[in-house]
């Protein structure tokens, strides 16, 4: 299987402060890859740079072999990249149904949109119950579900998830990760996941990268990293 996303020697600065230093990683088609690291490691910066909300200082980002460094952010969705941003990025004054609708903003196939709406409502039955509600009234877990449903409405080839577990109760986190695996298995959607919750991320992913202070310090298969002594001590609290 080919590389769907390849990041090469990416450096990002905030002003003069370096946030990412020459990081390189890749995601193969069909994989779930996790980028794990503590607060301030540069995980969200990496996500924002891929989705073009931040301009890199140097380096290359290839999507399906094509450079997307100079792409406008809104063009990425039509290319097949959808992001669930950190903090979900739900349009809170809009209803649940409208948020789902906006996920399919670029699509013109009315029939397909209708089918996919049914599909995401089946995937997240809680959202169906709350369709007409203003989304600002949802709980944290429901907001995360809505953000994922919205991203899926674009029928992405590559789904970027920024801290899906953030601020959620452990039981909800488990639900969310269960669905992440399901999306990958049923839809063959490739997923790049950024997480602080190493336990969950390593369980859900096939491969993982560990990022600390803007640099990738470890990489490997998730199984192997999960049983690694040092990783267990620093990230899994075992």
């Amino acid at each position: 299987m080919g590389k769907i996303l390849e990041v090469k020697d990416l450096s990002v600065n905030y002003g003069v402060v370096p946030a990412l230093r020459d990081i390189s990683f890749h995601v193969d088609e069909g994989e779930v890859v996790a980028l794990i690291g503590p607060n301030g490691a540069g995980k969200t910066t990496t996500m924002h740079t891929i989705s073009k909300l931040i301009k890199p200082k140097s380096g290359e980002i290839l999507y399906c072999g094509k450079s997307i460094v100079n792409e406008e952010p809104h063009n990425l969705v039509s290319m097949g990249i959808s992001q669930v941003p950190e903090g979900r990025g739900i349009f809170q004054p809009l209803t649940v149904a409208e948020n789902i609708e906006i996920g399919a903003y670029l699509r013109k196939d009315k029939e397909g949109i209708k089918r996919d709406k049914e599909w995401v409502y089946d995937l997240f039955p809680r959202l169906r119950e709350r369709m007409k509600q203003i989304s600002g009234t949802l709980s944290g877990g429901e907001l995360q579900m809505l953000a994922m449903a919205r991203a899926l409405m674009a029928r992405p080839k590559l789904l970027l998830l920024d801290e899906p577990s953030m601020g959620l109760a452990p039981v909800i986190v488990e639900d969310i990760f269960h669905i992440i695996k399901k999306i990958n298995k049923d839809q063959h959607t490739t997923i790049l996941l950024v997480e602080q919750n190493a336990q969950m991320a390593l369980t859900a992913s096939t491969r993982a990268y560990i990022i600390e202070v803007g640099q990738i310090i470890r990489e490997g298969s998730s199984k192997e990293l999960k049983s690694d002594d040092q990783i267990q001590k620093s990230y899994l609290g075992l």
């Binding site: 909300l53 959808s82 990025g89 809009l94 903003y105 600002g136 674009a154 953030m166």
Partner: protein, 290 residues
């Protein structure tokens, strides 16, 4: 007499509402006050007057053409005065740029059209009596055009994809981009829609007072802005509500207290309401959730 004042207030309030929407929608997506809005309106009104007076364009075509011109001018203002600096997130620079654009448009109008007041009268001015109230053809026209414009805007904002995108942009430009929304296009469209309505409002008000002049936007714009603030800037229903409130209060104040202070009433009410509700009557209260 009360109902007569109320009616007059609703009529001028409709005009304020249409202009206020432009301020509020632009503020909604960009969090800036487009100080050139009222001057764009003035320019459009001049174009309408010229089309009617010198080219004898039929009324409906004149209104549409002039409003379309206003919309294009509104979008041009965004392109020239705001877009190049807004990305830098310099609120003060945008404010100065907006005031500069306002002055520029006023001076340009004085240069091109002259600083005098021109007459503009293309609509029916016969007066009718309905249930003891006097209403002119012009007033009936203003009421119906306002109603139609507000209805179209409502459908556009709440029932179309473009409307959802506009509302999404007003929540977060960055997140809207992540949905594949071309946010620059939506911002441009917002300026266009706001200016179009201002163009229609300008032609109506120019005919109502039979006067078009380069500074006609000033007081009208200030009151419409007060209406937008009063209703809660950024809120579409708020702008409409605020427009009607300002119109009615001004009309009642002028009728029962003194017409000399007509303009003062609107601002007095705006100040009072803001003391009680700083976000405006329908202003957004943000709920942050993690």
């Amino acid at each position: 007499m009360f109902f007569q004042h109320l009616l007059n207030g609703l009529i001028i309030g409709g005009i304020y509402a249409m202009v206020a929407l432009g301020y509020s929608m632009v503020y909604g997506v960009l969090q800036i006050v487009n100080w050139a809005h009222a001057d764009v309106l003035m320019f459009g009104t001049f174009i309408g007057m010229l089309l009617a007076t010198f080219l004898h364009v039929p009324v409906i075509a004149m209104v549409l053409l002039a409003a379309l011109f206003t919309a294009i001018l509104g979008m041009a203002v965004e392109r020239v005065a705001y877009r190049p600096i807004k990305s830098a997130n310099r609120r003060m620079a945008v404010l100065v740029s907006a005031l500069g654009m306002s002055t520029f448009l006023q001076n340009l109008a004085q240069l091109v059209f002259g600083s005098g007041t021109r007459q503009f009268k293309v609509f029916d001015t016969n007066a009718y009596e309905i249930g003891g109230m006097k209403i002119t053809g012009m007033q009936i026209l203003i009421l119906s055009v306002t109603a139609v414009m507000l209805l179209i805007l409502y459908i556009m904002v709440y029932r179309t994809k473009l409307g959802i995108a506009m509302r999404a942009c007003s929540v977060s430009i960055d997140n809207a981009k992540l949905m594949g929304i071309n946010t620059n296009m939506i911002i441009s469209g917002t300026f266009g829609v706001g200016a179009f309505m201002a163009g229609v409002a300008g032609i109506l008000v120019g005919n109502y007072y039979n006067a078009v002049y380069p500074t006609m936007g000033y007081l009208l714009g200030m009151k419409a802005f007060a209406a937008a603030i009063l209703g809660g800037i950024g809120s579409i229903p708020g702008a409409v509500f605020g427009g009607f409130i300002i119109g009615v209060i001004e009309s009642l104040g002028a009728g029962y207290i003194s017409s000399a202070y007509r303009d003062a009433f609107s601002f007095l009410v705006m100040i009072l309401i803001l003391i009680i509700r700083p976000a405006g009557l329908l202003g957004a209260k943000h709920i942050d959730k993690v």
